[in-house]
Amino acid sequence: MMINYVVALAALLFMIGAVGVLVRKNPLIMFMSAEMMWNAAALAFIAFARNYHDVTGQVMAFLIIATAAAEVGIGLAIMVAVYHRRHRLDIDEISHLKG
């Protein structure tokens, strides 16, 4: 098994997700792209776990999955709250959240 191709696939998935976050304005689709970036990171961890025969990488991937679940819960709650107020799904509606 050639691990470097798996890592390259993870890089491609991460890139597509990042472009999705940068390009789209629908917060739901931006969120799904961010999920893809989480997944790409987990894939890289698992690939290196297989390469070095070390289960620690898989533990990291497990933690990534748990973190992504928490992030989705919070993010979708924020989205529903903003939608209740603005009645539009557009990321520019939430631009006041910037620092």
């Binding site: 470097n4 990042a18 739901l28 997944n39 025969h53 898989q58 991937a61």
Partner: protein, 190 residues
């Protein structure tokens, strides 16, 4: 290797479909395809427990949550994306993203990590092996993740408190353009 190539091509296509889909529902379906393909790659990489966890947590929990919110917020609506506030940000994003991602992928292919010749030990990536680490050396991280999930649950409850939701309802559209107030008056007392 052939299986991995086929799944990889399908994964990239599904990932592109997530980004370019017009309807969020189509994005969600494509993301389920990405999730399933990744689970298969986890199986190829002998991470059986992670493959099962991926299917249960992502396809079972996260995507159902996504589909609930998509049907709640976008049912029967055709939303067009608003114009860019920053000139040419989309093209800049696409080009820079392609450059960075291409550089990462080429680097990964050209510099393979040193290989271990011996086959993986029996039970590698199984529930027992992962659990031994999670409840042993990595227990601090497991506890931290549990705390974080609890914080997430409490945060969701705080974000959608019933009294706040009632106050917010209906107030949105009447705000004149250019008003930058985000918090409604009197919300602090709630």
């Amino acid at each position: 290797m052939v299986g991995f190539a086929v799944i990889g091509v399908l994964l990239v296509l599904a990932a592109i479909a997530v980004v370019v889909a017009r309807q969020p529902v189509h994005s969600a379906l494509a993301l389920i395809a990405v999730t399933m393909g990744l689970a298969m790659i986890y199986l190829i990489l002998s991470a059986e427990f992670l493959a099962v966890a991926q299917v249960i947590v992502y396809a079972g929990a996260i995507m159902v949550l996504f589909l609930f919110v998509v049907t709640l917020l976008t049912a029967g609506k055709e939303e067009t994306e608003s114009a860019d506030t920053l000139e040419g940000q989309r093209w800049a994003g696409v080009i820079l993203g392609l450059l960075v991602g291409g550089a990462l992928a080429v680097t990964a292919v050209l510099h393979p990590a040193p290989k271990i010749a011996a086959p993986v030990v029996a039970g590698f990536g199984g529930l027992h092996a992962v659990g031994q680490l999670l409840w042993g050396p990595a227990f601090v991280m497991l506890a931290a993740v549990g705390l974080m999930l609890l914080t997430g649950v409490v945060g969701v409850l705080m974000l959608n408190r019933p009294e706040v939701a009632e106050k917010n309802a209906g107030g949105g559209r009447t705000l004149p353009a250019g008003v930058t107030v985000v918090r409604a008056e009197g919300e602090d007392s709630a």
